[in-house]
């Protein structure tokens, strides 16, 4: 494990007393810190909690929140909740996939954007919605999506 990762992980672990129910909060904090869960972190957490590594991986892979590869600078989340769906959410997702050239769960080659689908962001009255980082984009259309990413094909610059 890289030494700075180890240092930061130790910093996180120092706040916990090592009970089994600390596992998910520790993984959440580690992901918050690193953006994903590096392999070394998983092993370090397993050792700290005196759990088999397989157990830690088992839990981490069960929950949709945890990622095992680095993500892009900006996170695009397209809402696939019901309210968004009946107002054309699928078209929004297709447009984003087309504009970024990636599928949900993937990251663009230049590490600018990662794409995810989320079940519901709870902004149903603003459907269809998507988020770029923490900013909610309301009442989307394929055209608005194209505008959001319009600079991309001309040199990979971030849209907006």
């Amino acid at each position: 494990m890289e030494s700075n990762i180890k240092e930061q992980l130790d910093d996180i672990l120092s706040q916990y007393d090592g009970e089994g129910d600390d596992l998910i909060p520790i993984l959440q904090e580690a992901q918050e810190r690193f953006g994903y869960l590096p392999e070394g972190v998983m092993a370090g957490v397993a050792k700290f909690l005196r759990l088999p590594e397989s157990n830690v991986f088992g839990v981490a892979t069960f929950y949709a929140q945890f990622k095992f590869t680095p993500t892009g600078k900006r996170m695009v989340k397209v809402c696939r909740g019901t309210a968004c769906h009946v107002k054309g959410g699928e078209r929004i997702l297709e447009s984003v996939q087309r504009e970024l050239g990636i599928q949900p769960g993937q990251t663009t080659d230049d590490f600018e954007y990662s794409l995810e689908v989320v079940a519901c962001i709870g902004a149903c009255a603003l459907a269809p919605t998507m988020m770029i980082d923490n900013e909610v984009q309301r009442k989307m259309t394929p055209k608005k999506v194209a505008e959001l990413f319009s600079n991309r094909s001309k040199g990979g610059e971030n849209a907006r």
Binding site: G58, Y63, G81, T82, S95, A119, G122, C124, A125, K143
Partner: protein, 637 residues
């Protein structure tokens, strides 16, 4: 508390403007609006004006929302640019800004006062009683309206058994969806042997299309905490957990603030209010698994394990969290408890129907004019919710169905609009109360495609423990995929029904037990739509992209070039003043051309199961047609 009839009754002093700081309004810059107002009020030296905020009003579509007390003036769609006018005209001179009044989408009339808005006037708000009315980050606001008085009453005037009895007599049932009598659940846990017991608030609101738990926690967190403390006193628990979705960061933040304030005020923690009762609450954030809304899966998740349901018995009341007796209630159930203790079981039991007491909260969304949170007495007809409060489908479209209960609920057709809404009636009709999602579909929504959408969600969220839930739903999904892409066979419909029965029978928990509901109800009420997809390869709603085509009508196209420019796949050919043609091979059916074609031309049509005759290559727009006003702003002119 919404003030008198006329703003003129008030001098221009002592005003408070409340800006909504719920998730929906915050997404449209309501924090910036509040900050701009604070600056403007200071700049104008309006000493008697206070700028404050509330949580979610449940009317997010109108956001950002602001209202001014004491007049009760309600502003919608407020932006930062409106701040100077609100401050100078209303807050300084007492003259409300008319253009920001709520406009009834059905009648088109402006409604200045909060209390006169039909959307609210027709509701009965018990769970949502304080939502949008108090500052959720200040316990003093909650205390000022009688907050924590019910806890005081429960601790000093009632034994735990009396509290349980009160809740039993109120008829309150679990608002998480299953509707189990709350008092009875508490009694099981109370009577279960053991010194250590736990109380859990289930705030894992994973149903896409439901956001009432989020709004309640954001807008009135103390109501939930007070309900938890009363429940803990009743069952004999000293430790509690709130298990909340990590996707709700604002609700998590407000809960943490509220918990800290409650401990500081002595209404939580050691020896509450000087009694012998101690109760501590922890917040646990979920990690993105829908199945963790199921109580045994939720407890596994708190313990740091994979959130997979287990078979019951033993029930959580006997052996729950870490093997100890545990009681789990939904956010809305707990938020109802302080009211029941304050007003009495008799008062509560008068609301609702014989078997379903109290109110139900729905997240009314989809194709409806007023979308938002709606709390109504149990037993009112669906029609009253969808049309009376919701205003029906907007822009004159026809109502097709309403889907209640989230992804495990069912579709109900127009013929059932008079159905009284309670646990029993919804179940009888093939749907469920569930978490209270209520999605309205209109003629543009395909029932088969929407059923496929719900099943794709539950299929993906199946934890995989039960074979039939894991694989049966997959088979059902594949069949639906075939039908919506024109590859279905007539016998598929019966096969779907057979599989559905097996999935229900072969699943441990409610996820698999209810996942087939959308498919079963859509076949029960809309079999003809399935048959149209299978027999005619036609989607009557024009929604299944594999079965629809877009065409540009040569007699209407003015050759303006807008669709040609916006088409993402360059499937449209034609030049200036040439009728445009869509290359059906290149078209990905995204619908952009239909969206952008100017309404005065309406040259793009979407069809299913029929052919439209169009030229094979671009032809000139005829001279006579040019007179209809095609020029001006055209990119090709």
């Amino acid at each position: 508390m919404l003030g008198k009839e006329s703003p003129r009754d008030y001098p221009d002093n002592q005003r408070t403007i409340f800006i909504c700081q719920g998730t929906g309004c915050v997404s449209d810059k309501s924090v910036e609006i509040r900050e701009a107002l604070e600056r403007k009020v200071e700049e104008l030296e309006l000493k008697s004006v206070k700028v404050d905020f509330t949580g979610c009003h449940g009317f997010c579509e109108q956001g950002p929302i602001a209202f001014v007390e004491p007049e009760g003036i309600f502003y919608t769609h407020v932006s930062v640019e409106d701040v100077p006018e609100i401050a100078q005209s209303h807050l300084q001179k007492g003259k409300p800004v008319k253009r920001l009044f709520y406009k009834d989408p059905v009648t088109g009339q402006a409604v200045p006062y909060y209390k006169d808005i039909d959307f609210y006037a027709k509701q009965k708000r018990i769970v949502l009683r304080n939502c949008g009315r108090i500052n959720p980050e200040r316990i003093e606001d909650y205390l000022a309206i009688g907050g924590y008085q019910s806890l005081r009453k429960a601790l000093f005037e009632m034994t735990p058994e009396q509290v349980i009895d009160e809740v039993k007599r109120s008829g309150l049932r679990g608002r998480g969806g299953a509707g189990f009598p709350t008092g009875l659940k508490w009694e099981f846990c109370r009577k279960s042997p053991g010194k250590v017991k736990y109380l859990i608030c289930n705030a894992d609101e994973g149903d896409p299309g439901a956001f009432m738990d989020r709004s309640t926690m954001e807008a009135d967190p103390h109501a939930v905490i007070e309900g938890m403390a009363i429940a803990a006193h009743a069952i004999g628990a000293t430790e509690g957990y709130i298990y909340i979705r990590a996707e709700y960061p604002l609700a998590v933040k407000r809960l943490r603030i509220a918990l800290k304030q409650a401990e500081d005020k002595g209404v939580l923690g050691e020896k509450i209010l000087g009694s012998n009762f101690s109760f501590k609450v922890h917040v646990k954030e979920g990690a993105g698994a829908f199945v963790c809304g199921e109580e045994t899966a939720l407890m596994a998740s708190i313990e740091g394990k994979r959130g997979m349901p287990r078979s019951r018995p033993p029930f959580p009341a006997q052996s729950g969290l870490w093997g100890k007796p545990t009681n789990i209630n939904n956010v809305k159930t707990l938020a109802s408890v302080p009211v029941i203790i304050a007003q009495g079981a008799g008062w509560y039991a008068k609301i609702g129907t014989e078997k379903s007491k109290g109110t139900a909260v729905f997240a009314l969304t989809g194709k409806v004019a007023n979308s938002g949170l709606v709390e109504v007495p149990m037993g009112i007809p669906l029609r009253e919710i969808i049309y009376g409060i919701g205003g029906g489908p907007p822009s004159g479209k026809h109502f097709k169905a309403v889907q209640t209960g989230g992804p495990s609920g069912g579709f109900l057709p127009a013929s059932l609009l008079n159905l009284p809404v309670d646990y029993e009636e919804l179940t009888r009709a093939g749907s469920i109360m569930g978490s209270g999602g209520m999605i309205v579909l209109d003629e543009d929504n395909c029932i088969v495609e929407t059923a496929k959408f719900f099943l794709s969600f539950t299929q993906a969220e199946s934890c995989g423990k039960c074979v039939l839930c894991r694989l049966g739903t997959k088979q059902m999904l594949d069949i639906l995929e075939d039908i919506t892409t024109g590859k279905g066979k007539l016998e598929d419909i019966d096969l779907l029904e057979d599989l559905a029965k097996d999935v229900v029978a072969g699943s441990l928990c409610a996820l698999g037990g209810t996942a087939p509901n959308p498919v079963l109800t859509s076949i029960r009420y809309f079999r003809d739509e399935y048959e149209a997809h299978i027999k005619d390869k036609r989607c009557p709603a024009l929604a299944c992209s594999e079965l629809v085509s877009y065409y540009i009508l040569p007699d209407k196209c003015q050759g303006c070039g807008i669709c040609l420019r916006d088409c993402p796949t360059e499937a449209i050919s034609g030049g200036k003043r040439m009728v445009h043609i869509i290359d059906q091979g290149k078209c990905i059916k995204c619908g952009t051309c239909l969206d952008v074609c100017p309404t005065k031309f309406s040259a793009v049509v979407k069809v299913s199961g029929e052919k439209v005759t169009v030229p094979s290559k671009p032809i000139p727009v005829t001279a006579t047609k040019r007179n209809t006003g095609a020029s001006g702003g055209s990119p090709l002119d």
